[in-house]
Structures are given as structure tokens and as C-alpha cells.
């Protein structure tokens, strides 16, 4: 239950903060430099992605704009873009986490980390372009 709350609060943080929070995350995320990354850095990046994924999930849970006359609804073309970006990011996140799990004595490679970074930037771009702030209803 606590973990659900943590995920929910992270999503809520992104929802409340909107673009500014995305920007904050992006700044922290891209502060990582060098050819190798640590487990701590992987953890921060993956947690940031999970927060964005929770925000994207909230967008997908809204009623479709064609079916409901409500202020917050989902457009099919946007939902499709969100899903494609999240799927790509999830693959990148899983690959990065799998590497650090399978190579406990080594540092993660920046290539895998960069793939997750690109996915985070893509999702941020979609959310900013369409004003998605994570509201559920």
C-alpha cells in the first residue's frame, strides 16, 4: 500500500507541478555526465520516468473527447502518441535496470541511460505541447 501511495504522490507531484516540475526533473536528469552511471543515478532516472508514466496513465484514463462533454478529456491522436512514447520509455527503462541488475559490480553504460533520457524528453515534449498535467478527471 505504501508503494502505491508513493507512486500516486509522485504522479500527483507531476500533475500539480506541470511543466515546471517536468523542467525540474529534466534539469536533474540531464545533470548526469560521463560514460558511466551509478545505480543511484539509474534509480533517480527510472523514478522520474515512472512519474511521467503515471501522468500519461492518468491522461489515458480520461474519457474520450468524442464521447464526453467534459473539460478534461483524451484525444485519440494524443493518446496514441503518449502510448508510443511510454512503450519506448518502458523498454529503455527495463533495459537499463536489467543491465545494472545483471552486472552488480559494474556501472551502467551511458548508452542505455541516454535511451531513457530521450524517452523522458519525448514524453515531456508531448505533455508540454498538449498541456497534459496529469489530472484524472
Amino acid at each position: 500500500m505504501k508503494r502505491i501511495l508513493v507512486a500516486a504522490f509522485l504522479g500527483a507531484a507531476l500533475a500539480l507541478g506541470g511543466c515546471q516540475t517536468f523542467s525540474t526533473i529534466s534539469t536533474a536528469f540531464h545533470a548526469v555526465t560521463g560514460a558511466k552511471v551509478t545505480v543511484q543515478q539509474v534509480s533517480v532516472a527510472a523514478t522520474a520516468f515512472d512519474g511521467l508514466k503515471a501522468t500519461g496513465t492518468n491522461y489515458l484514463l480520461r474519457p474520450r473527447c468524442s464521447e464526453a462533454d467534459v473539460p478534461l478529456c483524451s484525444k485519440p491522436e494524443v493518446a496514441k502518441a503518449v502510448i508510443q512514447a511510454i512503450d519506448a520509455g518502458t523498454l529503455a527503462r527495463n533495459n537499463l535496470e536489467a543491465f545494472v541488475r545483471d552486472h552488480p559490480a559494474e556501472l551502467g553504460t551511458s548508452g542505455l541511460y541516454d535511451a531513457l533520457s530521450v524517452s523522458i524528453s519525448t514524453l515531456q515534449g508531448i505533455f508540454n505541447a498538449y498541456g497534459i498535467k496529469g489530472g484524472k478527471s
Binding site: 507512486a7 509522485l10 507531484a13 543511484q40 515512472d50 496513465t57 493518446a79 502510448i83 541488475r101
Partner: protein, 100 residues
């Protein structure tokens, strides 16, 4: 309730404790979870504290072993992934449409 004061005081208190708390203690994980829950309040009430909270989480994460961090991350991934897959299923018809 003065939420700004509450957030600032809680962060200052944890900053003081972070330097003396033993590595890999239960307190470290509880403190990280608390700080994550504090973020929504900070975003809303006192945004200057956000980088401080981020740095504090990073400092506490440094006191946790890699296995614990990865285990915690795996649990978070599972929760987020399950919710996403359920929401994504609603859009199956849209995903089947050819891209224009």
C-alpha cells in the same frame, strides 16, 4: 495550518538527521518515502524547497545499498506498469488504426 512552514521545517529536520543516520537503516527508506510524499506539497506551497528535497533524497539514496534501491525501484515499476497497461487497453482500437 501553515503548510509552507511545515514543509520547510520537515526538510530542515531531515537534513539534520541525514548526516547522522546509519547507512542501510530502516529510517533511510522511510525518510525517502516521506520526502516523495512531501513533493506535491512543496510544488504547491514552497517550490524553492524542491531542489533541496531532491538533493536530500539523493543523499539518503547514497546511504542505501544498490540491492535495496533496485528492489524498491522494481516494486514501483510494477505498480506503475500495471496501472498503465489497464489504461492502455482502453485505446486498443486507436492503436490498431494505421498511422497517417
Amino acid at each position: 495550518v501553515n503548510l509552507t512552514g511545515l514543509v520547510t521545517t520537515a526538510v530542515a529536520l531531515l537534513q539534520s538527521l541525514a548526516s547522522v543516520v546509519p547507512s542501510n537503516s530502516t529510517f533511510v527508506l522511510k525518510a525517502i518515502a516521506f520526502l516523495e510524499q512531501l513533493i506535491p506539497l512543496a510544488v504547491k506551497e514552497v517550490q524553492d524547497e524542491i531542489p533541496v528535497i531532491k538533493d536530500l533524497i539523493a543523499a539518503l539514496a547514497g546511504k542505501t545499498d544498490d540491492a535495496t534501491l533496485l528492489s524498491r525501484l522494481s516494486d514501483l515499476d510494477a505498480q506503475v506498469d500495471a496501472a498503465y497497461e489497464a489504461a492502455k487497453a482502453k485505446w486498443a482500437d486507436v492503436l490498431e488504426e494505421p498511422s497517417t
